[in-house]
């Protein structure tokens, strides 16, 4: 039995393991994938400073560090249930039951799907799937692709696909449907893209992003948005084209696109079939928190964090005894933030098991680090993330006051 069990060997889980193992705690990390590193493994981009963020290398560094500490990493382990009895957590997996007084849930994020007619055809994949196939497995996902959905994740991965020599013909929006929201409205999409900082898909958006925050200018920009799209490193971003249907017999053969107006309304008679042998659906990310839900953790819906998030403190503890969270499960941010949060969680767990002044000092530093990394972060998946974090702090305050009240009453 380990003293702490971590679910997820991504940036948050690995950093959390290192932080608490450095204080002598015995750690077991379990992960579903064939190797540790989580979504770090696929990440590759250049920072505004010119430096490269090579996630594969970052993962390697963390994994090497775990090897010098009492950390056991077990891959290919899928968790299907989690329960607490007395003072221990019981985590049920395909490899048996893991038992531990503390558990850190660092399961990251999942992708929002965008249902499009024909999206069950082989060759249609989530954009994250194409990232893993390209950068982790190094297999070409196809010869000619179309990305449906224009958001920060889509552009980050588009860049990676281009680097690997994968041909993406165009980026288009999903057609308006009863289930679509902002992602099908060119005006709304443009608004989000102006917040994307250096990842914004073109110099115009990047440099003009302050101007583009003015509604009337944005409307004008859309009016004059080039019909063929705005080139991003060779791939046109077509904000006025929408995917109506993915077609193919047995597998993807093309996508039917139509021209849309600034509000996303389809202009009839403009439908045309474009050839493609693969399609990436980019719906964005949401916190993957199902295990926290199963464990009975209360949730709060905070759109600025990416959706339903388990209630947690700045120290990454949840209202459930012995359960901590870190990384994208707490809100959609970069891998660097996940690492910083993992360290906080690891130290908070060390504090919980053997409170002392030295750990507390490190914890305070780690908390500061999270703020620093966030302020400096060139990527912001959600522009209002800082507001989201503040909202959660207020929720926690209320929650802990209520908790204390309950303790007084009972």
């Amino acid at each position: 039995m380990s003293e702490i069990l971590i679910i997820g060997a991504g940036p948050a889980g690995l950093s959390g393991a290192i932080a608490c193992a450095q204080h002598g705690l015995k750690v077991t990390i379990i992960d579903e994938f064939i190797k540790p590193g989580g979504r770090l493994l696929g990440q590759l981009h250049q920072e505004p400073s010119g430096e490269w963020w090579n996630g594969m290398k970052e993962a390697e560094k963390l994994i090497n560090e775990t090897k010098t500490l009492p950390i056991d990493i077990r891959c290919g382990v899928s968790v299907y249930n989690i329960e607490r009895h007395d003072a221990d957590w019981y985590v049920y997996t395909n490899e048996g039951v893991f038992e531990s007084p503390y558990v850190l849930i660092a399961t990251g994020a999942a992708e929002y799907a965008i249902p499009v007619p024909g999206w069950t055809l082989p060759g249609v994949m989530s954009i994250g799937a194409s990232q893993v196939m390209t950068n982790v497995h190094r297999v070409q996902v196809g010869k000619k692709g179309i990305i449906i959905g224009a958001n920060v994740l889509a552009f980050a991965i588009l860049n990676e696909l281009q680097m690997a020599g994968i041909n993406i013909e165009r980026v288009v929006l999903p057609a308006e449907s009863p289930i679509s929201k902002k992602e099908s409205n060119p005006e709304e999409v443009l608004k989000i893209l102006t917040e994307a900082g250096h990842l914004a898909p073109s110099a115009l958006l990047r440099n003009g992003s302050k101007l583009m925050k003015i509604d009337s200018l944005r409307r004008m920009a859309l009016k004059y948005f080039p019909k063929g799209g705005m080139k991003i490193n060779g791939t046109p971003l077509q904000l006025k084209k929408a995917a109506i249907e993915i077609v193919g017999n047995e597998k993807v053969e093309g996508v039917k696109l139509a021209t849309i107006d600034s509000q996303g309304n389809i202009i009839s008679g403009t439908e045309k079939l474009y050839e493609a042998d693969f399609v990436c659906i980019a719906g964005g990310l949401y916190p993957l928190a199902e295990l926290a839900a199963v464990a009975g953790c209360p949730f709060k819906y905070i759109p600025q964090l990416g959706g339903h998030v388990p209630i947690h403190s700045k120290n990454m503890e949840t209202p459930i005894p012995g359960m901590f969270v870190a990384g994208n499960i707490t809100g959609i941010e970069s891998g660097k933030i996940a690492m910083a949060q993992g360290t906080v969680a690891g130290l908070a767990i060390a504090m919980a098991s053997q409170s002392n002044a030295k750990i507390d000092e490190q914890l305070q530093q780690a908390l500061q680090k999270v703020e620093e990394v966030r302020t400096k972060s060139p990527i912001q998946f959600i522009p209002e993330i800082a507001e989201g974090r503040l909202a959660m702090e207020r929720v926690w305050e209320k929650e802990s006051n209520r908790g204390e009240l309950e303790r007084v009453i009972f």
């Binding site: 064939i34 069950t120 060759g123 994250g128 190094r138």
Partner: protein
Amino acid sequence: MTRIVHHPILGSLNNRQKFSFVFNGQELEAYENETIAAALLANGIRTLRHHEESGSPRGFYCNIGHCMECRLTVNEQANVRACLTTVKPNMAVQSGKQHPNIVKRMVEENE
């Protein structure tokens, strides 16, 4: 599909061990430490199974173990996720097929 052997930042992939495995009776080539899904795609195979009920063709969708679309029978064990399973020499991989549903067909015919 082909493999991405050279990459400007991630470097080149060399000296990887090659071996064969079997998919639906067909012998295919794979590299060590890759998933079944990656090996099949590298061999140009997109359709991993057919939907049990409708028979519609399916490939991998999420590639990280959530969607279960890539489930295959591996060495006689059913419902193994191709995206999370490392391919091994001589592995026997079988794709899922549409189930015959005689009762349902009968009901449909009489409707």
